[in-house]
C-alpha cells in the first residue's frame, strides 16, 4: 500500500500528512462516535459522514455542558457545597 504525499506544502513549511494517515485518523474518530461506533468495520462510512457526525456529537456535548452547568448552578444555591464535597471526592475517585 503506497502512501501518497500531496505535492503542495503549507506556507509554514509543515508537510501535509499522507492520505493514509488521514484515513487512519478518520477511522479512529469513527470509533469514538456513538452513532457510528456499533456499525461493522466493513460497513462503508464516508469521511464526510464521519466529519458530519463528529460535528453533531461535539455540538450535543457542548449542549450537555451548558445544561449541566445550569443544573449545577441551581443545585449549588440549594446546598452547601462544602459538606458533601468530601463525600463526592471519595465516591468519584475510588
Amino acid at each position: 500500500m503506497s502512501s501518497r504525499r500531496t505535492s503542495r506544502q503549507q506556507s509554514s513549511g509543515v508537510p501535509r500528512i499522507s492520505d493514509d494517515q488521514i484515513i487512519q485518523l478518520v477511522s479512529k474518530l469513527r470509533q469514538l462516535l456513538p452513532e457510528l461506533r456499533h456499525s461493522r468495520r466493513s460497513d462503508k462510512v464516508s469521511a464526510s459522514k464521519v466529519l458530519q457526525e463528529t460535528c453533531n456529537y461535539i455540538r450535543s456535548l457542548h449542549r450537555e455542558v451548558e445544561d449541566l452547568s445550569d443544573r449545577l448552578s441551581e443545585l449549588l444555591s440549594t446546598i452547601d457545597a462544602d459538606s458533601p464535597e468530601a463525600a463526592i471526592i471519595r465516591s468519584l475517585l475510588i
Binding site: I22, L25, L32, H62, V65, S73, A81, A87, I88, L92
Partner: protein, 145 residues
C-alpha cells in the same frame, strides 16, 4: 476505561470540584428572588467556564486545543470581550470548516492535526460531561434527603 482516561477523570474531577467550591463560597448570597435568578444565571456561566478550563488543564498543554482554549479564556477575562467568531482565510477552509469552528484552535490547524486534536477533544469532552453529570446527580440526591 484506560488508565490514562481514569487519570484524566480524577484530575478533572479534582480541579472542577475545587472550582465549584470557590464559585459557591462568596458570602454575598442574595436573598431576594429577583436577584437570585440573575445569580443563578451568572453562576452557571462561571461553572461552564470552570468546567472547560479544568478539563483543558487536566488534559495538559501538549495539546493545541487545550492551549487555544486557555488562551481564549485568558483574553476573555482580561478584555471582557464578547466572543466573536473570526473567519480565517486559507488553510483549506472549505473542508471540515464546521469542525474547525467547534474545536478550539481548529481554524489554524492543518487537516491531519485537526483530526487528531478532534479525537482527543471529543474524548475529553465525554469525560467532562460524565463527571459533571455524576456531580449533579450527587448534589441532587443529597439535597432531596
Amino acid at each position: 476505561m484506560s488508565a490514562t482516561t481514569e487519570q484524566l477523570e480524577r484530575n478533572f474531577t479534582h480541579r472542577f470540584l475545587t472550582s465549584l467550591r470557590r464559585i459557591n463560597s462568596p458570602d454575598s448570597k442574595t436573598t431576594t428572588t429577583h436577584a437570585a435568578g440573575l445569580v443563578i444565571r451568572r453562576r452557571s456561566l462561571r461553572i461552564k467556564r470552570a468546567a472547560y478550563s479544568s478539563m483543558a488543564r487536566a488534559a495538559g498543554s501538549h495539546r493545541a486545543w487545550t492551549r487555544a482554549l486557555l488562551s481564549r479564556a485568558r483574553s476573555q477575562r482580561r478584555r471582557q470581550q464578547h466572543d466573536v467568531h473570526r473567519r480565517r482565510q486559507g488553510r483549506e477552509m472549505g473542508r471540515a470548516g464546521k469542525l474547525r469552528g467547534l474545536v478550539p484552535g481548529g481554524s489554524r490547524m492543518e487537516m491531519g492535526q485537526l483530526l487528531e486534536e478532534t479525537a482527543h477533544y471529543v474524548q475529553c469532552l465525554a469525560v467532562q460531561v460524565r463527571v459533571m453529570q455524576a456531580v449533579a446527580d450527587h448534589f441532587s440526591s443529597s439535597s432531596s434527603m
